[in-house]
Every structure is written in structure tokens, then in C-alpha cells.
Symmetry: C2
Subunit: 339 residues, 2 copies
């Protein structure tokens, strides 16, 4: 297998009997080339199997067809949904996705932003509003549209799409209290380098305070993202807080882990304990009892973010720069008023 010299635009041009600029036009602005010429060029492209070199194209035109996106992890299905929304808009628009995973570390996020900006993407999507100072500086001076996602509470570098994690949690606690729950625990996701998790905790705390409900320290636990951590958290909390009547988990995986654990231990949900989650993943509606949770616009975040980026790339202004897509509390059987 020997390395063949790559086919360049000039080769195509020679075969078609035109200059390379005409080949370029056939590819980028076909309307500006006479039909006969265009066909001749397309045939030549086909004949030699020419694949345009967009690295050279990008250098010459000073723009790329790449959008860079950073998520904490692709393994969490909620971000996968957002990426799905992104690509659904980007691909038809002729844009490619350059993806990075920060692993919930602001330091790695900053490093990745540097690396990604070197590729001169046409736009950048990041998760959350909390970033290293260096990262903010880079994003501000990059000269490309930037959209921050999954949070709208705070100061955006450029644009933002998401919902209020604070209000969602606040509202859920109010709902639980309205259903008669008095002693409501909260299982929080790790808050370091995660403004969404912090907002959710803050929403829980505010609601508890506003409602005059007990604020004991044992009612809040931090847990990693896994079924197992949910199970363990609910066990500990039940042991430490005998009169616990509801557990609100910061995500559905924790909540479902807790739910399964209760079932294993013979704890009746919602009879003995109510459980609520956050995200409304597909599984939430499938478990028994169905999980009460907060439905959030995961897919739409990606789609709208992409739309905003495309709009700005095309030179059109975007308003509002901060887009709140809202949320919805979905009440299922896992939370009903106790006794």
C-alpha cells in the first residue's frame, strides 16, 4: 500500500479545463458558474475522487465549519441529549462538531478551551456559567459567538440557554410540602465546579427556609452520579433522620437508585417515604412507582444553542441573549401525601 499523492483542486481544474478558482466556485457558490462548466467540473471531481481540503479553505477564508462544544461528560444521558439537539441543527447547516469532555473540572475546561480555540471554531458551546477566570478571558476575546448552557442564573460571557435550576428545585420542594411532606431531605450532586448543582441546592434551601421546614444538616447529603450513591444516601439519611418523609434527589439516577434500594429493603414508596428526582430521564416514567421529577428541556437546550450560534455566525444578532426554556414538574406515584 503506497501513499498516493493527494488530489488537489488544481488537478481537478486541469482535467475540467478551467482554473482552480472555478472549481472552488462550483463547490462554494454553484450559482455563479455556468451550468455547462459546473457539470464538467463536477464530473472531473467525481472522476478523480477529489475531497476538498477544508483546512486550506479555512485558512484562506478565515472561517471554519466547526462548532466546538464542551460538556462535563458524555456518559450522562442528559448531556448526550443536548449534544443530540446540537447536531440536529448543526449537521443540516453544514457544520461539524468538535467535542470535549471536562470531567466536571474547571481547570480541564480551561485547557480544553485553549486547545479548541486553536482550531478556530466558528462558535463555542460550554456547560454552565461557572468557569475559570482564564477561560472567561479566552472566551471573551476569541471573537466568536459563545453560548453557555444549562443555567441562566448569573452573568453570561456572551449568550446563554437553559432554565433556572434554582427555581426548579424551589418549586419541587414547595410541591412536596404542599403534598403534606414535612421532613424533606435533599441528595445533592457534587457541587464543586458545578454551578447547576449549587443552584439546585440553593433552591432546596431557600424553599425549606421560606416554608419554615426543618433545616437539619443531616437532611442534605452530597452524592456522586450513580444508582449506588443514591441507594447509599437514602440509607444513611433514613438512619439519621427517623421522621424523614421525603427525599428529593438532584438527579433521576440518584432518585432511582434510592427507589430501588427502598424496594430491596422493604421500604414502601411512597407509603413510608416519598422520592423525587430531577431530569425526567426515560427511565423515570418506567419504574414502579413512577418517579416524580422535574422535566427539563435537555434536547431543546442543544437545539436552541445551535440555532443561536448559527444565527450569530451568519452575522445576525440574537435576542434575547439569555434564553430561559423553563421546566415542568411531573408528578408521578413516587410522591403522595404521607399517612
Amino acid at each position: 500500500m503506497q501513499k498516493k499523492p493527494p488530489v488537489r483542486m488544481e488537478d481537478v481544474a486541469r482535467i475540467a479545463g478551467v482554473s482552480s478558482i472555478t472549481v472552488s466556485r462550483v463547490l462554494n457558490q454553484p450559482g455563479k458558474v455556468a451550468e455547462e462548466t459546473r457539470e464538467r467540473v463536477l464530473n472531473a471531481i467525481e472522476a478523480v475522487g477529489y475531497v476538498p481540503n477544508s483546512v486550506a479553505g479555512s485558512l484562506a477564508s478565515r472561517r471554519t465549519s466547526v462548532i466546538a462544544a464542551l460538556v462535563p461528560t458524555i456518559t450522562n444521558s442528559i448531556f448526550a441529549d443536548t449534544i443530540h439537539g446540537l447536531t440536529d441543527v448543526l449537521t443540516p447547516a453544514g457544520y461539524q462538531l468538535l467535542l470535549g469532555a471536562t470531567g466536571y473540572s474547571l481547570e480541564r475546561e480551561a485547557q480544553l478551551i485553549t486547545a479548541l480555540l486553536a482550531q478556530r471554531p466558528a462558535g463555542l458551546l460550554v456547560t454552565g456559567l461557572a468557569h475559570a477566570e482564564r477561560a472567561r478571558t479566552l472566551m471573551k476575546s476569541a471573537g466568536i459567538p459563545v453560548v453557555e448552557t444549562w443555567n441562566v442564573q448569573g452573568e453570561a460571557v456572551d449568550m446563554a440557554v437553559g432554565f433556572s435550576n434554582y427555581r426548579a428545585c424551589y418549586d419541587m420542594v414547595v410541591r412536596l410540602a404542599g403534598n403534606g411532606h414535612r421532613c424533606i431531605g435533599f441528595v445533592c450532586a457534587p457541587t464543586e465546579a458545578n454551578d447547576r448543582a449549587r443552584e439546585r441546592l440553593r433552591g432546596y434551601r431557600s424553599a425549606i427556609r421560606d416554608l419554615g421546614l426543618p433545616e437539619r444538616a443531616e437532611l442534605v447529603r452530597e452524592a456522586k452520579f450513580s444508582f449506588h450513591a443514591g441507594a447509599e444516601s437514602v440509607n444513611r439519611m433514613r438512619a439519621e433522620v427517623p421522621d424523614l418523609d421525603a427525599v428529593f434527589c438532584a438527579n433521576d439516577i440518584l432518585a432511582i437508585g434510592a427507589l430501588f434500594e427502598c424496594q430491596r429493603r422493604g421500604v414502601d414508596v411512597p407509603g413510608d417515604l416519598s422520592i423525587a428526582g430531577f431530569d425526567d430521564v426515560e427511565l423515570a416514567s418506567q419504574v414502579n412507582p413512577g418517579l416524580t421529577t422535574v422535566r427539563i428541556p435537555r434536547y431543546e437546550i442543544g437545539r436552541e444553542a445551535a440555532r443561536m450560534l448559527m444565527q450569530r455566525v451568519d452575522g445576525r444578532p440574537v435576542s434575547p441573549g439569555i434564553l430561559d426554556l423553563g421546566f415542568e414538574i411531573v408528578e408521578r406515584q413516587s410522591t403522595v401525601r404521607p399517612g
Copy 2:
């Protein structure tokens, strides 16, 4: 907000009092620059906030630090795990990930391959061994290492990493039969444009035939990837096949959908019906009863694929070109010998 002219390497060079090639060397081969000079250059870079333009760098050096990957969908956690394995190797090696989703369409796959190859990635990862003829041609003539994943049965364009979907299903059926099951149904994933699904079906069929078990058409159903489809399939199959004693689903989501449906309907699993899945997603070990399934090296596929690509990018040959990472049948409580 006015557009500032971007900082170029030459600007940095002027400030540091060197030529731009020295700046280039500080960035790419720091060992070749005297420490004093290097520091002066790094200070200048810092001072002006220079971000290298790797588009220009790639054009000049004729190589990029981008690896392109195509998966059917990022929404399915099994592919997310593979991508995770990929990035875990790529990022430390200084490579970026350009990601595309084909939506299980060979036509879209071919289109995306064209678009991605225009970006001149250093390597390409695709899912499965089945591709449009045009796609195969493109991959073969691209002059970059290509790795096909998730299947090792068939002819690879270049390299492949995965496991035998055929043998995994064959073995599971043998195991079920060994446990006393006689009437084993199979819920297949859509086979169009999906060689893995086809292999799984083929494995089931071969095993049934080899074991002399009933081969009725009602024992095989095709179902989309969702809990709901699993539920519906098990309902239909139970209605059409009264003596059904086991259902083997081509993925865990279908299996768990089926399991939940049985629970809703009061069908005892495994007392009345055994259920087995495929993939061993985290949920499989959490449901009650635990789901018998096939554990497959999802993460490792990504990691090994990346390793092979990196090795070839570095000019070192890779052997074996086809890497079978195997599988493992995990027996839990959802399948025990009936009666």
C-alpha cells in the same frame, strides 16, 4: 464591541525579539530552544494572549490533531461509553474529537465521512463493518488510519476492534437452553443498516437450530430502542406463543422494558418467564430481579480504538489489525430454570 485584529505568531516574535520560527519551536519542540529565549517567548505569548492558529499550522505541516468518529447515535449510552474511552486516550495525547451521528443510516454515514474527511483528520473511527460502497472507497483512499468498531466478523477496511455479536448471542441462547428453557424468543434491534443487530439475530438463530429448539416465526420480533418497544414486544410474543419460557432481548433497554411490563402485568420473572438482555448497562444490575445479560467492553472498544489510531498516526504498525475484546455472560436472577 469592535473586532480586534487577531494576534499572529509574527506579533509574538517581534515582541520577544525573535523570528516566528522560534516561536513555532517554543510551541512545538520546546527542547530545541534555549531556556532564556523560550521564557522570553512564553512571556510574550502570555502578554498578548496569543492563541496559536492550528488551521494554518495544519496546512503547513499537512497533519491535524483531530480524530473523527462516527457513531449511530450519542443518545445510546453504549456509544457514549465508547466515546468516553476514545477521549480518555485522545485528550492526553493532544488530539481533538470531531464527532458525527449517523442515525443508523449508511447514506448519512457516507455523507458524514465525506464532510469529515474534508477536515483532514489524522484518523477515523466508524461503527460497524457495514458501509455504503462509496464510504468504503473514501475510507480506503483517505490515506489515514481507520478503525471500525463494535464488530469483528467481516472484512475490515483497515483495522477493527470489537467482539463477536454472533458468538455472544449464540452463547447466551446455549446458556438459556442449558438452564432448561425450551421456547426462547428473541427481540431483535432494527437490522437495517446495522450489522451488529444482524449478527446478533444470526447468533440466536444458529443456536436455536443447533440445539434443535423450536424456530417459529412468532419467536422473533424486531423492536426499536426503547423501554416501550420492549414492553410491547413481550406482550405480543406472550400472546402469540403461550408456551414461551424465555425472552432474549438484543439490548438491555428492551429487556428492562419487558421486565417492567411483566411486573405491571403480574407476570413473574423468572417464575413464569425468563428475560435476558445484552450490553450490561448499569441499570441491569439494579433492577429487581437483576437482569441476566451479556457484558461487553464498551469503554475498552473506544480506548483500544484510540490506542490503535494513535499508534498508526505515530507511524508504528498495529497488530493484530482486528482486535477481539470478547464478552462475558452475566447471569443474574432474571433467568433461572423454569418449573
